[in-house]
């Protein structure tokens, strides 16, 4: 049977992709950020996940203002890197896992999650930057990826509790897939950042670290954090952290911390990174 073996959380700042693509990952600015991912790169090379359910948000790339799915799952064979206004990133195409993706989609719908199903879409920095952070610059990505896009742009975005419940349902779906697969779930985005208005540049390291603490062990307090708290405390784009709760919900009642990293700043954003496993 397929199983969720671990969860990874990470920020997905576009500038990290630029640093990778331009070979600047060990310079004075980016070095301390990327050093926090060295452990994970080694760990991923040992773990060799077959499939990653990669929870991210589309930044007006695959979805425009016309169609706004709250939860969308990519069921295609391949996903190309999106052209976000400066040409697509020169990274490998992403290979999907249509069998598992369709299985998860069907299971989630029967489990009361009304998913939007996407056969063809380009994937932006929200998805490709985490792959670069965890796998570096391989000729082909070493795992299949099932994109799971969450609307965190147009309000209301899904509640933290709903995200957590979706994670729980994804776990049930994966565990009912008959093939023996090592599946990881990644929650991306955050941590504190605000990209707009006079308050732009807001960073709240204390809150971010409390949030990371709350995902380790058996607490489920984070699922009850209201949107307004993310917005006041961590900036308008800090709301992306609800996507970490999908990852957390998929890991079951208790988690064990394998690795943790936090750094300010990267561009406008606080970088946070966790590796957890079900305990």
């Amino acid at each position: 049977m397929a199983r969720i073996s671990a969860g990874v959380a990470t920020s997905h700042v576009p500038l990290l992709g630029v640093a990778v693509d331009q070979g600047k990952t060990r310079d004075a600015y980016f070095g301390p950020i990327f050093a926090g991912y060295d452990w994970t790169k080694r760990w991923e090379a040992e773990q060799k996940p077959d499939v990653i359910v990669l929870v991210y948000n589309d930044h007006a790339s695959a979805f425009d203002a016309n169609i706004i799915p709250t939860f969308a799952i990519g069921t295609g064979e391949h996903f190309k890197p999106a052209d976000e206004g400066w040409g697509p990133r020169a990274v490998p195409d992403v290979s999907g896992h249509p069998d598992l993706a369709w299985h998860i989609a069907q299971s989630l719908i029967l489990d009361d999650f009304d998913m939007t199903i996407i056969n063809q879409m380009d994937v932006d920095h929200g998805l490709t930057v985490p792959l670069s952070m965890m796998f570096g610059t391989p000729a082909a990505w070493p795992a299949k990826v099932i994109p799971l896009a969450v609307n965190v742009v147009t309000y209301p975005v899904p509640s933290g509790n709903r995200c957590w419940m979706l994670g729980e349902a994804i776990r049930r779906a994966v565990e009912s897939f008959p093939e023996d697969l090592n599946v990881q779930i990644w929650g991306t985005g955050g941590m504190s950042h605000q990209l707009q208005g006079q308050r732009a540049g807001l960073i709240n390291a204390e809150w971010d670290n409390r949030f990371m603490d709350s995902l380790i062990g058996d607490s489920d307090a984070a699922r009850r954090i209201p949107h307004i708290e993310y917005l006041r405390e961590t900036g308008s784009e800090g709301i992306e952290m609800v996507m970490w709760l999908i990852m957390r919900g998929a890991l079951g009642e208790r988690t064990r911390l394998l690795h943790r990293h936090y750094h300010v700043p990267c561009s406008n954003t606080a970088i946070g990174h966790l590796v957890l496993e079900p305990d």
Binding site: Q196, G197, Q198, S267
Partner: protein, 136 residues
């Protein structure tokens, strides 16, 4: 588990955050064509047409005159007020060759250098800018 919020209270709280415009349905409706214009710049051929004649390119979109003027002026604060969303507007400043830091800093009343220095020193503290009403 559900603690369903009243939609009016939920939305009203957003207006209590200083210097912040949450992208609500109201803004999404007001900014629909503005954001779709910005989205069109994801295609290389559209970027070329836009760069060749910005005013003519804007005529393709049923945007308000105020929105068009704000785009031409790259007034991102005003564009947010007119329904623009930062991830859509990013296509405009990316086409101009600006980074997020460069574009975002224009909304803060700081120079790019001052803004970058603030970020490198740990970013803007949330102290005093969490709430207009309660100032904490």
């Amino acid at each position: 588990m559900s603690d369903k919020a009243d939609i009016q209270d939920y939305l009203a709280a957003f207006d209590d955050i200083p210097g912040t415009r949450i992208y609500t349905a109201k803004r999404a409706r007001q900014g629909y064509h503005l954001n779709q214009f910005a989205m069109s710049l994801m295609k290389a051929e559209n970027r070329e047409a836009w760069k060749a004649d910005e005013k003519a390119y804007l005529e393709r979109w049923p945007m308000s005159e105020a929105q068009k003027q704000a785009v031409l002026a790259r007034d991102y604060s005003l564009l947010l007020d007119l329904g623009g969303n930062i991830y859509f507007l990013a296509k405009v400043f990316s086409t101009d060759g600006l980074s997020f830091v460069q574009a975002v800093s224009t909304m803060t009343g700081m120079t790019v250098e001052e803004y970058q220095a603030m970020m490198n020193a740990g970013g803007r503290s949330p102290k005093g800018v969490r709430s207009i009403k309660d100032v904490y």
